[in-house]
Symmetry: C2
Subunit: 219 residues, 2 copies
């Protein structure tokens, strides 16, 4: 399985990702134009240039195509986090990983805006989107924990063993939640205005503001 997500890989993987992206984009554009309920699987498939049957090879449900723009983004971030230089603290590594990912999204600004419109138009889809984010957050917390485990002590030396253990359990979830919040707020802010600021920069600012309230684990 190799926890896919990176840009590389064989032609096969690249084509698969392209097809998935084409389907998701077609679904969102059509939904933004006609309303999600009015968009048939046939229309989406046609717009993406594949057969209806193929659509269901990528999505279990019609609605799934509306829920997330890029289902692999979370996996890519986790991978980047694990691949980051060992010298970087978990917070910095995470910030960079997400920044890089959002830089990709930068080029699809319009699509992101349409997506939020689609979600806001149907609470039904908004709920599913929220669920997807929560799942991503959980997976991210595990990745953070994995990165943290080998070296770098989490609590300052001299702390009680019990406190230290609890911090070790809690910190990944907390950091993942912080990151999730930062992304959400950034997306909202970035989508709502007709602004020139680059997406990753918006994120870095929000992240820094949030992180200022969260003490670093080792200090």
């Amino acid at each position: 399985m190799s926890e896919n997500g990176a840009a590389g890989g064989g032609l096969r993987e690249r084509k698969k990702r392209a097809t998935r992206a084409a389907l998701a984009e077609a679904a969102i554009r059509l939904a933004a134009e006609h309303g999600a309920e009015k968009v048939t699987v046939e229309a989406i498939s046609a717009a993406a240039g594949v057969s209806v049957r193929t659509f269901f090879n990528y999505f279990d449900t019609r609605d799934d195509a509306f829920v997330v723009i890029d289902a692999d983004a979370g996996a890519r971030i986790r991978q980047a986090l694990l691949d980051a230089p060992a010298g970087l603290g978990p917070m910095e590594a995470l910030r960079e990983a997400i920044s890089a990912e959002l830089a990709e999204a930068e080029q699809q600004r319009e699509l992101w805006r349409l997506h939020t419109d689609v979600l806001n138009a149907s609470p039904h889809l908004l709920v599913r989107n929220l669920g997807a984010h929560m799942a991503d957050e959980t997976a991210l917390a595990e990745a953070i924990a994995a990165r943290l485990r080998p070296g770098e002590p989490v609590a300052a030396p001299g702390t009680g063993a019990e406190e230290r253990r609890r911090a070790l359990e809690l910190y990944p979830r907390l950091l993942a939640a912080l990151a999730g919040t930062a992304v959400r707020v950034s997306v909202e802010h970035w989508c709502s205005r007709e602004q020139e600021t680059a997406f990753p920069d918006v994120f870095r600012e929000v992240f820094a503001l949030l992180a200022a309230g969260l003490p670093a684990p080792s200090a």
Copy 2:
């Protein structure tokens, strides 16, 4: 529309309620036996002795048949609350209204147990059930507010006008929430055990315990 729910009415209304109840009961029994996902609308309709088309006259969606046993219960409680003798305080009136309703449910004990099994087996349906309860609670809060408005001051005389206004706004929601919680806890308790205690009595006890923590509005 007349806010239906009462037992009376013409033959027509009675038949409609019977059909609806038959469909809901059939749906739940079949779901408890074979799993909700495996139960077709055709099977439910056949078990209830009506056509498939008629099923969709009563429920917008197949899943709707699994969500609540009696969709009119909330309306009946609200009606009973409004019809209660004027001397009764809102809390007593509400307790009596719900007790009476649960006495009806007493005779369907087995069905209620099956229903909780069905809901617990599919989180999907559990969520919809929760939503239905929340909607009922909101409607109930409005009924409470309506009963409260004409006479009976809510806050003790001598209280500031501002505090009084806020209490008037808050109290109905609080009481409705309390009632909802009492019902939920009672159902859980009543369903989980093989006990002899009458359902309304369980409820009255739970209600009393919860209410002990909620000061009466006028005292």
